[in-house]
């Protein structure tokens, strides 16, 4: 760290918090252009139907698909072999494929009046049998959602290692069927879009609550047939993303087309009902896992049949199979698995499309792998920590390439496990168990690939493959450093951490660093904020841009010092030679305002640099963690109380440890939601059953226990400062660790929970199944 204590490694207070804490953040909902028309969508009341038409009210602005033929379909194809493509119309055309699918846009001076219009529309449809369960969707006689397909599956992937001989050699074999629930990601701020046509610039300006303004811009241009220069996307303050805002929305396209058509600004603000029931879902996985181990618990092989409910359409840009297809590559987790056989299916159902939610497929995979490991340990009569220790990739094997070709950059996985277990008084816990208390210890170890780049994503063939991340660094005439990045900060604290990076390189005080982000007109192209990539990618790019800017400043500063360039250094925000120095402010002033003092050999690019960055290799960093949980189960009600929660975590070099803690805590709270609370049930007709937050339970302050975080620091050898992507980590481990704790508590009854969330009803049902309720 720099001597100032404000550079990489400092727990600097977040620069952005002043406006947030004072309620001065500016979100889409805070912006209301003059003359705006509010949009309410008429949405499908049914899951599956043939749409014959819409009877519009006699008066009012109502637009259906037939009125907006200029909007092309959303297409998010994957290049993976066998992928079945489907077009998603922005407004339903001939078929309705999930409850909440937009059918018509209704516009009025107020949202309430627009909703009145929507209520007065009469969609004319003929209901079809709905496919609401992903396993039923794959049955040969299931009704087809996309009728030109031969089955309701976007994609199937497989690997066929031999496992037939293992029954004869293995000391233990377990098989488990496991499920994670369908969830509705619930950022505090929902989606929101304002579209305006600027006749002077002949440009569409879309203000949207998105994590990826540039991708959204490209998507809008593509679907509306505009040049990319004719579209500008602004994402102002965004109240939480988590993946929910990593999608091109039908609503964005409709608002954009309407703004052009009407010549008036148009605004749609998603409400909680739409967020819960109409827009993208996440997480719903099914696993059928078989695992074999030797007598010490060493894994011999895993065989996995996994199905992910991808919903009705392939979401743009991540496609319908990001989750399922990833299962094959991440299931081995942090372990040295010698053999692996799998088949994964991205099932198509009459539900909203799924999006990758914080943790993406890893949360489900970790749940499946870790509960299976515990089942093996119980069968072998060995300790849950021991079975993990013997299978974890050892530190001396780093960098380690596993059997599916994932490369782990660095770390000491067994040490993380040791430290997590050491934080628990295991002897006291076993004594309580022996005294008849229904308490248990649960462990989960996992790694999180983050910031993986071109070489990983080109294989997916999704519409956007990340390349070099670019950042622009420039001095304003007063020496303030302006950074411009194309990804977006919505909770990650990038306005602070990127300023720390710049400070580390240039010595400019973070208070004098401004981050410009969230506007495609002002920032370099970027695929956006997702995949725990921002700190590695934008951090690297900002550092590189600042380094080059420093070189240019050095030339100018040396000239002002009348010293040879080689004799000067950049230190603490100044060009220094011996006792003499010129501050960067003076350098900036010279370039912009007193160019007569510039040396001949100055770089004519001035004090403005755009630089690109990608780690080499770009296969991603692997942060990792061990979670250890003590949970108490009420045998009578099935209620679960988390008594202790310990996380040992290695994110490499932490640019701002306080912010990392915040990321881990927030992610863990969401993971607790996945583990114990969140579930969007659908009935057999495909109706979502949780329409309010009274039914869709999110963990709140009273449901999240104190969480202890311990950091290990193993810098990544591949990134600029050794930092690793860690933004999603907290959300990965909790379901596995918590369910393992519950199952440890229930072990003496021989009961096990296999489905998420582990609600009291499911816990009690597990006990009832073995006659122990």
């Amino acid at each position: 760290m720099t001597v100032s204590g404000k550079g990489v490694g400092a727990s600097l207070r977040r620069k952005e918090d002043r406006r947030f804490l004072q309620g001065r953040g500016r979100y889409v909902g805070d912006i209301r252009p003059a003359g705006v028309l509010e949009v309410a969508f008429l949405r499908s009341p049914v899951a599956h139907a043939r749409l014959r038409g819409v009877q519009k009210p006699a008066q009012g602005l109502v637009f259906t698909a037939a009125d907006l033929l200029e909007i092309g379909p959303i297409r998010a194809n994957s290049a993976l072999p066998g992928f079945r493509a489907s077009d998603q119309p922005a407004l339903a055309r001939d078929k309705l494929r999930h409850v909440g699918e937009p059918i018509a846009a209704c516009l009025a001076e107020s949202r309430a009046a627009a909703e009145d219009l929507a209520a007065a529309c009469l969609p004319d449809y003929e209901e079809l049998p709905a496919v609401s369960d992903m396993l039923a969707a794959l049955a040969p006689d299931a009704p087809l959602i996309h009728e030109h397909w031969s089955e309701n599956a976007f994609l199937e992937t497989k690997r066929e290692d031999e496992v037939a001989d293992l029954d004869a050699i293995a000391a233990a074999k377990v098989r488990r069927r496991l499920r994670t629930a369908r969830q509705s990601m619930a950022p505090i701020e929902g989606r929101g879009v304002i579209a305006e046509w600027d006749p002077r610039l002949e440009q569409l300006i879309v203000t949207s609550s998105t994590q990826m303004p540039h991708v959204t811009k490209s998507g809008i241009a593509e679907c509306l047939g505009l040049d990319e220069g004719q579209v500008r996307v602004i994402s102002p303050d965004v109240g939480g993303g988590f993946g929910y805002k990593g999608i091109l929305l039908a609503e964005e396209l409709v608002c954009a087309a309407l703004a052009i058509r009407l010549g008036r600004p148009v605004r749609w603000l998603e409400d909680r009902l739409e967020q819960l029931t109409a827009n993208a879902n996440c997480r719903e996985h099914f696993y059928d896992v078989t695992a074999w181990a030797d007598a010490e618990g060493r894994l011999l092989a895993c065989e996995v049949e996994a199905v992910v409910d991808a919903g009705a359409y392939s979401a743009y840009p991540f496609s319908a199979c990001l989750e399922a297809a990833q299962i094959g590559s991440i299931f081995p987790g942090p372990y040295t698995l010698p053999r692996f056989r799998f088949r994964t299916v991205s099932a198509c159902t009459n539900k909203p499309p799924i999006l990758p939610y914080r943790g993406v497929a890893r949360t489900g995979v970790c749940f499946a792998m870790e509960t299976t490991l515990d089942a093996l340990a119980r069968q072998l009569g060995i300790d849950a920590a021991a079975i993990r220790a013997i299978n974890l990739v050892p530190p001396e094997a780093m960098p380690y390439r596993n059997l599916v070709g994932k490369v782990f950059d660095s770390g000491d996985y067994p040490e993380a496990l040791r430290r997590a277990v050491a934080a628990i008084d295991v002897a006291a816990l076993r004594a309580r168990q022996a005294a008849g208390e229904t308490v248990g210890l649960g462990l989960a170890v996992f790694c999180e690939q983050g910031a993986h780049g071109t070489s990983v994503y080109h294989g997916w063939g999704i519409p956007f493959v990340p390349g070099f991340e670019q950042a622009q660094a420039r001095f304003t005439p007063d020496g303030v450093l302006e950074l411009r990045v194309g990804l977006h900060s919505h909770g990650q604290g990038l306005e602070t951490t990127l300023a720390q990076v710049a400070h580390e390189v240039l010595g400019v005080d973070p208070a004098r660093v401004r981050l410009v982000h969230g506007d495609t007109a002002l920032t370099p192209y970027s695929t956006g904020t997702w995949g725990s990539r921002a700190m590695v990618m934008a951090g690297g790019a900002v550092a590189e841009a600042c380094r080059q800017l420093g070189e240019r400043a050095l030339t100018i500063g040396a000239a002002l010092l009348q010293a040879p360039r080689e004799a000067c250094v950049l230190r603490d925000g100044a060009i220094v030679q011996g006792e003499a120095k010129v501050t960067l402010d003076e350098v900036a002033r010279t370039w912009y305002r007193r160019p007569q003092n510039l040396p001949r050999e100055v770089d004519k690019g001035g004090l403005e640099v755009t630089a690109g960055y990608r780690p080499d290799p770009d296969t991603g960093t692997h942060s990792y963690a061990a979670h250890a949980v003590v949970a108490r189960v009420d045998r009578e009600t099935g209620a679960v109380v988390l008594e202790q929660y310990v996380i040992v975590e290695d994110g490499g070099t932490l640019v701002n440890p306080m912010i990392v803690d915040g990321q881990v805590l927030g992610g863990t709270a969401q993971g607790i939601g996945t583990a114990l609370y969140e579930e969007m049930p659908f009935d057999a007709q495909g109706q979502p059953l949780a329409g309010t937050l009274a039914d869709y339970l999110l963990p709140g302050a009273s449901e999240v226990p104190d969480i202890t975080i311990e950091h290990m620091v193993t810098p990544s050898p591949w990134t600029r400062f050794g930092q690793k992507g860690i933004g999603e980590s907290g959300a990965i481990g909790p379901p596995a660790a918590i369910v393992n704790a519950i199952n440890d508590a229930l072990a003496r009854f021989g009961a096990e929970v296999t489905d998420l969330p582990a609600t009291p009803a499911r816990v009690l049902a597990a006990l009832a199944k073995v006659g122990a309720a």
Binding site: R111, A112, L273, T637, A639, L697, G700, A765
Partner: protein
């Protein structure tokens, strides 16, 4: 999630309120249940009559042997101890566990009781009291025993032309015992089982079992339950033939725990 258009009126006295009601207006107090119903367009009244400015609507009046609590008294005021005596202490304990403070600041005792959500806290607790709901209609005041006020799921003994004006509860004699237990997974989630038992010296203890997705079960003489909480709770709940085994288990635990506390 915006309500259909409606008119708003704010009656200044009770006769104006009753007149508005007769003309078809829907009354509202704290709006904590009606508001969401309007937003979801589950309720689409033409007119809403805001009761909050009626004289005495939120007044708590201690008389010699009873306390009269205006229907408009908020959960928050009850939580903060506005109702005197042991009865006040019991109500404060219940109020404290209704939702969160923001809801309690607006939601009212009368609104909750009139709404009669089968899982609401006042719906569970008040029927145990030998008190009355005071209804006001065109013909004047009508006293409805609290045990009979809630008649079904979202159904109460009020006529369409009547308002709930107040709830009258007896001051509790020395030696009164009370037990209460409810299950919810987080604050603000409606209870999945709740029960209470009130035992006044010299009279038969009363018990209520609620949050059953049906009308609360009022047990006028719960002596047997107090004598053998475990067995009686099991017997009573079995008789309800609940479809969901988890809810059945919770109901049993709720009734037993409330009884054990009051025993």
């Amino acid at each position: 999630m915006k309500p259909a258009p409606f008119d708003y009126t704010r009656p200044r006295d009770w006769s104006a309120a009753l007149a508005a009601l007769a003309a078809g207006a829907r009354p509202t107090a704290g709006g904590q249940s009606l508001g969401p119903m309007l937003n979801l367009r589950l309720a689409m009244p033409e007119t809403i009559a805001d009761l909050r400015h009626l004289p005495g609507f939120g007044v708590i009046d201690q008389q010699r042997d009873c306390v009269r609590i205006g229907a408009g008294t908020t959960h928050a005021r009850i939580e903060d101890g506005a109702v005197p005596g042991q009865v006040g202490a019991i109500l404060a304990r219940i109020a404290r566990n209704i939702a969160y403070r923001a809801v309690r600041n607006r939601g009212t005792l009368g609104g909750s009781l009139s709404h009669a959500d089968p899982a609401a806290d006042w719906v569970t607790v008040l029927p145990a009291f030998p008190g009355h709901a005071i209804a006001l209609g065109p013909e004047g005041e009508r006293r409805i025993p609290l045990g009979c006020f809630v008649t079904g799921v979202f159904a109460v003994a009020l006529q369409e032309t009547e308002l709930l004006q107040a709830v009258e509860l007896p001051m509790l004699p020395e030696g009164t015992r009370f037990g209460h237990w409810k299950f919810c997974r987080k604050p603000g989630e409606f209870s999945k089982a709740s029960a209470c038992v009130l035992a006044l010296p010299g009279s038969a203890p009363r018990a209520v079992l609620a949050a059953l997705d049906q009308r609360p079960l009022v047990i006028d003489d719960a002596a047997a339950l107090l004598a053998a909480p475990e067995a009686e709770a099991a017997r009573i709940v079995e008789g309800l033939r609940l479809a969901d085994p988890w809810r059945e288990a919770l109901a049993r635990v709720a009734l037993r725990n409330a009884a054990q506390e009051a025993a």
